[in-house]
Symmetry: C2
C-alpha cells in the first residue's frame, strides 16, 4: 500500500505549520517540521559523518547554523544539510504516511507516488499580525521580517530545485488560510485528501 | 444581500471553463465566459460608441479582433475592450450572483465583497491532450499552442493589472484539475464555496 504523504509549503505566518500538524493528528499520521527533519538528517548518519570529519570550528558552525535557523526561521544554504534532509525526507516517506512541512519536500518526493503537495498562503497583513501575536516577532520590524523569511524560503527552494517556489503548478492545491480560517482550512484539506486518495 | 461572485482564472486546457459552467449550473447562478463578456461589453454602450466614432477600418479591425480572439483563444491588447469588459464585469457582479471566466475579473472586482477567486491549473501534458481531444487543436502544434495562449493571458493580465497572473496570492484557492478530475474539482469547489459563504 502506498503511503499517504502530504507536503506543505507555506508563506511565513500563514498558519501552514499549524494546519499541517492538525491534519497529521486528525489523520493519525506522523508530522515532520524543520526541527524534526534536522534531527532525522542528523540521525541518518550522513550529516553526522560529514561533520565528524571536520574540525571543531565546523561543528560550532553547524550549531550556529542550527541556532540561527531556529532563531530566525531562515534557512542556511548548506549543501550537506540540504542533501541530508532530502535523503531523510525520502526515507521517511518510504517508511510511513506523514505530513512534512517545507524543506523542498515536494521536490524531494517528485518521483514518489501517493504524495499530495499543498501550498498555504494568506494576505500579508494577516501574516504580519500572526507573526506578532503567535510567533512573538517585534511589531516594529514584523513586516520586513515576514517578507524576508519568505524571500529566504524562495531563494532556498529556487536554488536547490528546478522549480520556482510558490507557483501553483507545483501543488495539487493552494489555499489562502484566511478564507476559511485555520480550522476551516483543515476541514477542506481533509475533504480534498479523502477524495484524492479514494479516486 | 451580497452577491456570490466566483471568478475563475485558468491555464489553457485545464478545464477551468467547464468547471465554472458546471458550478454555475449547480449553484443556479449566471455564467459568463469570454464571448458573453464581449457581448455584455458591446451592450454596455461604451464599446459600441467607441467604435461608432471610428472608421470602417477600425470596425473591421474590431470584427477581426473578435474573430481572432475566438478563433485562437488569445486576447487582443485593446484598451477600449479591456475597460468595456471591466465595466461589464463590475455591472454584472453588482446585479447578480455569477461565475465569470478570465478577463481579469478578479482584478476588476478587487474592491467588491462576496467575491471568491479561483485558479485552475493542470499538468502540461494533460492540457495538451485536452486541447487536442476537446478543443480540436492540431496535434503537431498543440504543445506550442497551449503555451502560447497562457503566455498571452499572462501578458494581458500583467499589462492591465498591478498583479502577476497565476500567483497563489491572487486567489482564495488554486486547484490542479487533474488531481480530482473535472467532476471531483466541482465537488471540492462547492464545498469550499459553501464553507466560505457560510462563515
Amino acid at each position: 500500500m502506498t503511503n499517504k504523504v502530504i507536503t506543505i509549503t507555506r508563506q511565513y505566518g500563514s498558519g501552514g505549520r499549524e494546519i499541517g500538524q492538525t491534519l497529521a493528528e486528525q489523520l493519525g499520521i506522523e508530522f515532520y517540521d524543520n526541527k524534526l527533519l534536522d534531527v532525522a538528517a542528523g540521525d541518518s548518519g550522513i550529516h553526522k559523518s560529514h561533520f565528524e570529519e571536520n574540525d571543531e570550528k565546523r561543528s560550532n558552525s553547524f550549531l550556529y547554523l542550527l541556532s540561527t535557523t531556529y532563531g530566525q526561521g531562515g534557512v542556511p544554504f548548506d549543501d550537506a544539510l540540504f542533501f541530508a534532509q532530502l535523503n531523510a525526507i525520502q526515507k521517511i516517506a518510504s517508511e510511513h504516511s506523514c505530513v512534512i512541512i517545507g524543506r523542498c519536500a515536494d521536490y524531494a518526493l517528485r518521483d514518489f507516488s501517493g504524495v499530495v503537495n499543498i501550498f498555504i498562503s494568506a494576505p500579508l497583513e494577516i501574516r504580519i499580525k500572526r507573526a506578532i501575536e503567535v510567533y512573538g516577532i517585534g511589531e516594529k520590524h514584523a513586516a520586513d521580517y515576514v517578507k524576508r523569511i519568505d524571500k529566504q524560503r524562495t531563494s532556498y527552494y529556487n536554488y536547490y530545485t528546478d522549480k520556482r517556489w510558490g507557483t501553483p503548478q507545483n501543488y495539487h492545491l493552494c489555499l489562502d488560510s484566511s478564507a476559511l480560517g485555520i480550522d476551516g482550512s483543515v476541514v477542506l484539506l481533509r475533504q480534498f485528501l479523502d477524495d484524492f486518495y479514494n479516486r
